[in-house]
Structure formats: structure tokens, C-alpha cells
Assembly symmetry: C2
Homo-oligomer: 238 residues x 2
């Protein structure tokens, strides 16, 4: 079952996503594959490529969610990017992948040989746009990792899963209730590794948000944000 496919109950048409919405909240990409594509499917929790392996393919995600991570020799892990439909990975400035990619949900993707990519202006143009978005997302994430408190990081993470809210592109609260349902196909440990925290700290932040009446958690991997605006004000960004 694909969590991402129903991550948002809201069915508004996919407008220009707010800059800092993280990848996995995106809807399936409508983009047609460029020539040279090989379509690939992966189950949830598969390793799509490994840090340090020969980087001979680049991948564009058509549907599903992927996380990129890096390890330090002593086992510390950082989840570097969360990717969704339309995002790209596998690019490297060396001969080797610089991150490991794992599927969080079932994934449909288009793979291109690196050689093909390097000789296709059309593909480069497409990828170039994706990369720009991802670079901006990394900028936001660097701010989060370097300067935000634990509570702000968790609030920012959750807001990133809610499209069309927060930041410049915010539509404001819905008519009556300011409520959104969000599926989170990640463990607390993974969220922690993404936010530069420990799983205990993430758990405590969630508990605090529940106590403050900002969210409910019917399941571990699914939450209901009952007051998006209040959550947004806890991100530190505004």
C-alpha cells in the first residue's frame, strides 16, 4: 500500500508547490520520460543504490518516496534528502554515489545511464530544474539543521508534509477547521536521522504537540494536524 498516494486527503489540483515543501508530499509526476529511460519498480524499503558504489545511473522518481542518507564510519546516520515524484537522485561529481537511496514506499521511477544523461541536452534541462528545487530544499534544510531547536525542526518537518501551507505560498486556513491528515511512512528513528536529533527527542516533541492540542496520532505512521496555523508558527520560519 502506497502511503504517499493518499498522504493528503485534500484533492486540490497540483499548483506550483511552495518552495520548502519537502519532496515526499508531492503528487505523482505527470512528466513523460525522456528518451533513453528504463522504467523500474521497487517495493517499500528497498535499497536503490548505495553510497560508494559506482554511480552509473541517474533516477527520476515518477511515484513514491525515497530517502537519501549518508553514514559516518562509526555508524552515525544522516538522512540527507526526502524525495518524491519529480525528484532526481544518483547525480554525483565523482565516479561514486555520494548517498544511499532507499524507498520509503513502493516506487516507480525512470533510470537513465549516466552516459545517456551526459549526452542528452533535453534530459539535462529537465534534471537541471529538479536540481534547482532540490538545492533550494537543501538550503532550507541546512538552516534547520544548523540553527533550529528540536521543536522547530519537528514542526518544520510536519509542515513540509502539508502542501500549499506555510511560507509564501500559504493558502491560509481552510473555511472551518484548520485540519490536515498526513501519512508519515517513516519511523521515529528515520525522522530523527533526517532532523539531526535522536528518536527520543522526536518522540518527546510529538508528545508535546499532542499535549498542546495541535495534533493527534491515530497510528504511528499517520497523524492528524488539528491546527495547521499554530503548527506553522512553531517552525521558527515565521
Amino acid at each position: 500500500m502506497n502511503h504517499i498516494a493518499h498522504a493528503e486527503i485534500d484533492r486540490t489540483p497540483p499548483k506550483h508547490d511552495a518552495a520548502w515543501t519537502i519532496g515526499i508530499a508531492a503528487r505523482p509526476s505527470q512528466d513523460a520520460p525522456v528518451a533513453g529511460a528504463r522504467e523500474a519498480h521497487f517495493a517499500a524499503r528497498e535499497t536503490l543504490c548505495e553510497e560508494g558504489a559506482r554511480a552509473d545511473h541517474i533516477v527520476i522518481i515518477a511515484q513514491g518516496a525515497v530517502m537519501l542518507s549518508k553514514l559516518l564510519p562509526d555508524g552515525r546516520r544522516q538522512i540527507i534528502e526526502l524525495l518524491g515524484a519529480g525528484d532526481v537522485f544518483g547525480l554525483s561529481n565523482t565516479a561514486l554515489y555520494d548517498t544511499t537511496a532507499e524507498s520509503l514506499t513502493p516506487v516507480r521511477a525512470f533510470q537513465y545511464e549516466r552516459r545517456v544523461y551526459e549526452n542528452s541536452p533535453e534530459l539535462q534541462r529537465t534534471v537541471s530544474q529538479k536540481m534547482t528545487s532540490q538545492l533550494c530544499a537543501m538550503h532550507d534544510h541546512a538552516m534547520l539543521l544548523g540553527r533550529k531547536t528540536a521543536a522547530e525542526r519537528v514542526a518544520s518537518f510536519l509542515m513540509g508534509l502539508i502542501p500549499n501551507r506555510g511560507g509564501h505560498g500559504c493558502n491560509g486556513p481552510d473555511a472551518k477547521a484548520d485540519t490536515r491528515h498526513v501519512a508519515i511512512p517513516m519511523t521515529r528513528q528515520e525522522i530523527a536521522d533526517y532532523l539531526g536529533l535522536t528518536l527520543e527527542t522526536v518522540s518527546r516533541a510529538f508528545s508535546q504537540l499532542k499535549k498542546d492540542g495541535i495534533l493527534q496520532a491515530p497510528r504511528h505512521d499517520e497523524i492528524v494536524v488539528t491546527n495547521v496555523c499554530r503548527l506553522c508558527h512553531l517552525t521558527g520560519t515565521l
Copy 2:
């Protein structure tokens, strides 16, 4: 006076830079400008563009060092990227710049109108390669910000200023002494904002490295690393 120009006394020819060497250690770029370029010069410590302003130009640095930063409303600052010759900035997935760019040294650069960029496959191809490098650098920096200790961050920062050492591309120690001179055109506060620390913590880390005989600091903005290998082992990366 351009600190970057003599940042490295070593004069070995510019080989393929190790993946994680940060931008400002790079040598002047040999790349010829693409059609549509406007050459621009900036003194040290000028603001080249501002977070939130209309993003109508992209800039490729020919010579000098630039830092990109973001601010939170309460004044917390994160320096997002350190850029040098060959690096690009000003790209955004929105209509506005997502970071502020300031010169650390005198800078020579080529500016392109966004419209020109969007219609020039040649320019896109060039920029695409730069972006790949910068994205990988951001990946490394996310690991640093999320998971490394203060001492490891400072050691990583210094190693990033030493080309051809550390990581995969390491040449190993020089014949006799394992010593390198490094110019640092940044204040302690700027280094702290780059590493997600406070200036006091950065200062303490420097002091510790001096006490351990790993470096000397004849001036605040210039240090001599007397044992590159020992420093490298403090980065946590290896």
C-alpha cells in the same frame, strides 16, 4: 588584497578536486564565459544579492569567494554554502532568491539574466555540472550539521580548505613535513554560522587544536596546519 589567491602556497596543477573540498579553496576558474555574460567585479564584503529579492540573474564566480546565507526572523543566521571559482548562485525554484550572497574577498564573476539562462542549453549544461558538485557538497554539509560534534565540524571545515587532502582524493602527506598554510577570509562568527555553532565554541575548538600541536595561528585570518593527517582524523569522516 585577495586572500583566496594565495590561500594555498602549494602550486600543484589543479587536478580533479576531491569531492568535499569546499568552494573557496578552489583556484581561479579557467572556464570561458558563455554568450550573454556580463562581467562584474565586487570588493570584499559586498552584498551581491539578497534573500527575498527578485531572482533575475544567475552568477558564475570566476575568481574570489562568496558566502550564501539565510536568516530566521529572530536573527539566527546560517551560512549555507561557501563558494569559490567555478561555483554558481542565484538559482531559485521561485521568483525570489532563497539566500543572500556576500563576497568574502574581491570577486570577479559573470552574470546572466535568468531569461538568458533559461534559453541557453549550453549555459544550462555548464551550470548543471556546477550544481551537481554543489549539491554533493550540501550533502556533506548536511551530514556535518546534523551529526558531527563541534570538534569534528571545525576539523572538517579546515580540511575543506586544503585541496587534494582528505577523503578519497588524498595524496597522503608531503615528503617531509605534513604542513599547509591556509588563509581564512572569515570571522569566527561567520565560521560559527557556517558550522551551526557559536563563535565561542569555534574559538575553543581552534584553541584545542593549537594546544594539541595540530595548528598555529600567526594571524586570526591565517593558520598553519602542522599536521594535516592528524587533523583529517579528527573530522569523523575517516
